[in-house]
Amino acid sequence: MKFRILAYLFFFVGTADLFIKIFYGNIFSDLTEDYYEIANPILVFTPVLFFSIGGIFLKESKVSLTLENFGTSRIKYYSPQFICLSVVVLIFLFFTFNAQMNMENRGIDFGFGFLTQEASFDMQFSLMDYDGQDPYWWAYVVALLNTLLVAVLGIIFCTIIGVIVGIARLSPNFLIRNSAAWYVEFFRNIPLLLQIFFWYYAALRALPLPQDASPLFGVTYLTIKGYYMPAFIWNNLNIFLYSILAAIISIIFIRYYANKLRDNEGKQIPVFYISLIILFILPALTFLAGGVSLNFEIPVLKQLSATSFIYDGGIAVPPELIALTLALSLYTATFVAECVRAGIQGISKGQKEAAASLGLTPNQVLKLVIMPQALRIIIPPTTNQYLNLTKNSSLAAAIAYPDLVLVFAGTALMQTGRAIEIVSITMLTYLSISLAIAALMNWYNKLIEIKEK
């Protein structure tokens, strides 16, 4: 009975609360004397709170709640969850109301219409055609591609360096083992931003001006304005690509046949060398017979003024991309190396010995016994490192590499003034990239994990 009274009391308070707020219309109070008007979500939320509490009491009054059975009551069971939910809702309401209210006060409207407006700024470097006349959404796509480019390059290089260094750390050779250890300890313990600055402002600044550069590999030039290399000009490129495709398909067939031969007759054929030969000969044949030809556009020094030169033609890799890729892959490679080392050390010595006693060669031991098991330990932490690398690529803004943060969350945000829209788009983009990488790596992890039958 007492609970029923309590329940009605709460209903009454809730109704009164709602009534006052509707008729006196002041659900936003300026509790603070500050520059913002802070929407007070507690005030919006209280009627709902009162009604809910009343509802719980009313329900409980039907099963005669007393202090004695409070310990097993539903009120005790549900209230922590209810409080937790309320807090989450309150926080969400608080930020939404605040943003809405302050934007309204400042005369800022919310919307994504700006994405179709002309961007009217240029980008230093883009993988696809981009011009200032293109709309903002295209600038976003192009900037995103630049981010993906540096992320992919970084992931490839950090994996290669990481695996080599990780294996080198276990080398029996004193010099190799210790230099690998020093490399890891050195690069791992210096902040990434500093390393980026080092590569861009110190290391690349030491490079010669274009006119003083001496050729690297005969036709490429590494200068302060970037790395210039010849561009390939193909005739009948599609025939060449088809030939590579054909080579890959025939290699798959040969492998299948070789496996069958090994299983049925116990014969081993050198699959690796045969594959290599096919992969080399088939595309080469297209040059002789298929009418494929390749020319090089070699960069040529061009004078802009008395002291300023540039290489014209060919492909120019901007120094910003070089510095960023170097810094990201050298930094992340240290973590990958540690993952690789941990993975290999995680396989018990007995595995290696057992494999050796079966008569496998050391190469086969590594390839068929150690690595498949080690990979299972290596992949999950390495995925984290790939994600870190991708997110760290946003530090590009410090050295003028036109990535998503510099171009979209920088220039575009500035020119349009749409901070909330652009920052949320950028956040969602990074979230999607990270989730996509994680999904891919999880899929690969599933593929190589122990399949229990």
Binding site: K2, I27, S29, L67, R106, S305, T307, I310, I399, P402
Partner: protein, 346 residues
């Protein structure tokens, strides 16, 4: 049971408190920003991250420059002390967000007045304290003396998030020159990159070029080309929606310019109280009630002139004397061939 009643009473008390807040009506306030500034005891001012002549901090953290003086003038008017300013260094990218989000109250950071900024993003430009235009800096040794000598493939260093970035594109497009824009977030990074030879030219407002030149490893090796490719009226900005505060900032700036027009300086301001000219007397607070409209006392403008000086003094102290731009050019009074012209204070 007793415990439950106790809990219940405290709950009712809480509800009562909530009601008390709910029913509190909004107090009629003239200017929130003014009220808050007076309560805090300092003016919150957004400035650049270091641009000699405009806003630059010395080794001991004292800010100087013509942009800084605008904020000091506001502090002198509102709080009676030109030193009661809290400066927040902002990059070009951060500045408007800092202002609209309420982190600062005046943005005085060599900001170009454009239509889209004024109309779109919740800002109000209150005036112009420096008439500028975009130019190019090149190395003397390059032999370039005019932008007509620019060739395809030229690389240009600049800041992101500025009108510079847009003007540059318009300029190169109209000339049909292909170029490589290299845009950094901070001015210091731009200068470092240009200085090292990453770029052939450095482009920003001409005053900025002149100021940054003094920071280079060897200033004499660089020249600013004569062409001006855009109009850049730079001035202080406030948030939209507080018209009283907007007026205070506008008239603090205007007071400095008008004081120069009437020959009132920080040295002779007090003696001008007995002047025969009513316009001068109004400006030093000896006549009229000009401060009342802002909710300020009558000596607000006198304090500005005494503590900060007139526009000419500020220009001489910050820009002419350090040798950044000795010639005032368009930033001369209209009576002396420039375009500085402010509405009368009356």
């Amino acid at each position: 049971m007793f415990k439950l009643i106790k809990q219940f009473t405290s709950f009712v008390a809480m509800v009562a408190v909530l009601f008390a807040f709910t029913t509190e009506t909004m107090a009629a306030k003239k200017s929130k920003t003014l009220k808050n500034t007076q309560k805090k005891g300092f003016v919150r001012c957004g400035v650049s991250q270091g641009l000699p002549g405009f806003s630059n901090a010395d080794a001991s953290g004292n800010w100087t420059g013509v942009d800084v003086d605008v904020c000091r003038a506001v502090a002198a008017a509102v709080l009676g002390d030109a030193n009661k300013v809290k400066f927040t260094p902002l990059s070009a990218k951060e500045r408007f967000t800092a202002l609209t989000s309420g982190e600062i109250d005046v943005l005085s950071r060599n900001t170009t007045w454009t239509l889209s900024r004024d109309a779109d993003i919740g800002l109000t430009f209150v005036g112009v304290n420096f008439y500028d235009g975009q130019g190019f800096m090149v190395r003397k040794s390059s032999g370039i003396t005019s932008t007509s000598q620019f060739k395809d493939g030229i690389s240009a260093c600049t800041n992101i998030g500025t009108t510079t970035e847009l003007n540059m594109r318009d300029f190169f497009n109209s000339k049909g020159i292909s170029y490589e824009p290299v845009a950094f977030e901070k001015a210091d990074e731009v200068v470092a990159a240009y200085d090292a030879g990453r770029c052939d030219t450095y482009t920003t407002d001409k005053s900025g070029l002149a100021a940054q030149r003094t920071k280079m490893s060897n200033p004499d090796e660089h020249i600013v080309l004569p062409e001006t490719i855009s109009k850049e009226p730079l001035g202080p900005v406030v948030r939209q929606g507080d018209s009283v505060w907007e007026d205070i900032v506008r008239w603090s700036l205007n007071t400095m310019i008008e004081a120069e027009e009437y020959g009132i300086t920080s040295a002779n301001a007090d003696s001008m109280k007995t002047s025969d000219n009513p316009a001068i007397k109004r400006l030093v607070g000896a006549e009229g009630e000009l401060g009342a409209a802002f909710g300020l006392d009558n000596e607000w403008s006198l304090r500005i002139i005494k503590q900060v000086g007139n526009y000419g003094e500020s220009y001489k102290r910050n820009i002419a004397d350090p040798g950044i731009l000795p010639d005032r050019g368009p930033n001369e009074l209209w009576t002396k061939g420039g375009i500085l012209y402010v509405p009368p204070a009356r």
